[in-house]
Amino acid sequence: MARLVSLADGVADLVRDGDVVALEGFTHLIPFAAGHEIIRQGRRELTLVRMTPDVIYDQLIGAGCARRLVFSWGGNPGVGSLHRFRDAVQHSWPRPLELEEHSHAGMANRYVAGASGLPFAVLRGYTGTDLPRHTTNIRPITCPFTGETLTAVPALRPDVTVVHAQRADRAGNVQMWGITGVQKEAVLAAHRSLVTVEEIVDELEPVPGQVVLPGWAVTAVAEAPGGAHPSYAQGYSVRDNDFYRAWDEVSRDRDTFRAWLERHVHRTGAAA
């Protein structure tokens, strides 16, 4: 059964220096509050895994938490570039960032393999692109039944996966709905998991399209209302598109970014 913890305790206990960490949420339900707590607690040498690094990893990369990034699309959706990500790749600021680069289909299948307890996944993907030349974790494989050449990618097994959801009950059963992305697979692929939720309730009322993660499959649950902002939680909030647009300017300059981080992350304590 999942433990109910504070966000600060959950991050302190479950996210460690040097870990392979996946913060998932496909545009929707991105665990920003947990990301900020990781920055506040000064985690270092992380391998950050995420299909779409988004603004959340731009912040973690700019804050110096990451050594390596495993990803498939590193932009600010609908806006443009992630400037902290670009600065790290192009100018090693604030430190060099190793990349392991995939396609969405490849990343999704890597989580599926991890959740399934398999060493790798098979897909029709990457063929003819330059990605396999730079990512050694993309290999051809021959189908034993048809002889067809397909592509294999290894399972992702994060040390810890962090996701945000709408609700949990007191037993730590987690309920999410709307765009649920790859969160279920990312949680089940991980050795440990932390789920932040909009609210903890006595009973989970069924919602159409819901995904439920049983409490016994989750390590810890922390209440973090608004914890997806500027991403959103369907039924609780809408995506703050203005923030995403404004981030372009904030993140473009190192000093402006640092000032933003100081004011909006470091000086803002986690809910105890």
Binding site: F26, T27, H28, M51, T52, F71, S72, W73, G74, G75, P77, G78, V79, S81, L82, F85, R86, V89, Q90, E101, H102, S103, H104, A105, A108, N109, Y111, V112, L123, R124, G125, Y126, T127, G128, T129, D130, L131, H134, E148, T149, G178, I179, T180, G181, V182, K184, E185, G209, V211, Y232, Q234, V238, R239, D240, N241, D242, Y244, R245
Partner: protein
């Protein structure tokens, strides 16, 4: 690049004299980007299933859906199948897409069950660089992957969209930076290095059928697979198109001129664009 994003190929009409702007005057003020979006929207057949990237492809697909193709099935990689947004989403995962979709599925499902088996008719993609065989780069600019001149967002869903959709439509502004002899990085395969490459690679989708730009329309030659200019937007010359292309651009013998945007297309497009500003409430 005379046409790019300038307010109209003819001089925009003054609106300061108090006269009502006539329909013709409103038409005179369409931009090259509007022409490109309208031209792309017209290419989407009603009832087709279309895998839509964010930005220009999403705008064009939504324009098609509210004009001539009400049964166009919009598929977003966030898992929204059959989304019918009443405003333009900023991201592929805005709530309006999930709220209006026929079904919302997981990301592994959208790629494995829907895209991979070839269920999707049209893949609608943008590009940072495009070469004469329709190969697309959205990864890095520069020769050295480890030390790129410009780090771009990367692949996202594009490699498999380009491989598996029945056909691909590319929408991209035409200029020397984008239209390059060779892309610095092949993120998504068009026709590789020429005829037979898609078949050799085992790519099951048909590849790029059209490239729609702010200057005109390019189509692959049926034999050589080389992108060929087949249509110009009104007011654009073939010399402009060739000058905006980083290789010796082939021009079709029968080069046509596309129809300008209709008042209806422009009105709908501008109403859609207006919904992009500010956060949804």
């Amino acid at each position: 690049m005379s046409a790019r994003s300038e307010p109209g190929l003819r001089a925009p009409q003054s609106r300061t004299n108090g006269d009502p702007v006539s329909e013709e005057n409103a038409l005179a003020a369409w931009t090259a980007d509007e022409m490109m979006t309208v031209a792309a929207a017209r290419q989407l057949r009603d009832g087709a299933a279309c895998f839509v990237g964010i930005g220009l492809p999403s705008t064009a697909a939504n324009l098609a859906r509210v004009t001539h193709a009400p049964n166009l099935v919009l598929i977003y990689e966030s898992g929204c199948l059959g989304a019918k947004p009443d405003r333009l989403p900023l991201s592929i995962g805005d709530g309006v897409l999930a709220d209006t979709a026929d079904a919302v599925v997981s990301v592994p499902e959208v790629f494995n069950y829907w895209l991979q088996p070839g269920r999707i008719d049209v893949g609608f993609l943008g590009a940072a660089q495009l070469d004469r065989y329709g190969n697309i780069n959205t990864t890095v600019v520069g020769d050295d992957y480890a030390a790129p001149k410009v780090r771009l967002p990367g692949a996202g869903g594009a490699p498999e969209i380009a491989a598996s959709c029945g056909e691909v439509v590319v929408i991209v502004r035409q200029n020397l930076r984008t239209f390059t002899e060779r892309v610095d990085f092949v993120t998504s395969v068009g026709y590789g290095s020429g005829p037979g490459d898609r078949e050799r690679l085992g790519l099951r989708g048909g590849g790029p059928r059209l490239v729609i730009t702010d200057l005109g329309v390019l189509e692959p030659d049926p034999v050589t697979r080389e992108l060929t200019l087949t249509s110009l937007h009104p007011g654009v010359t073939r010399e402009q198109a060739r000058a905006a292309t980083g290789w010796d651009l082939a021009v079709a013998e029968r080069l046509s001129t596309g129809a300008p945007p209709t008042t209806h297309e422009l009105t709908v497009l501008r109403a859609l664009e207006a919904t992009k500003h500010g956060s949804p409430r």
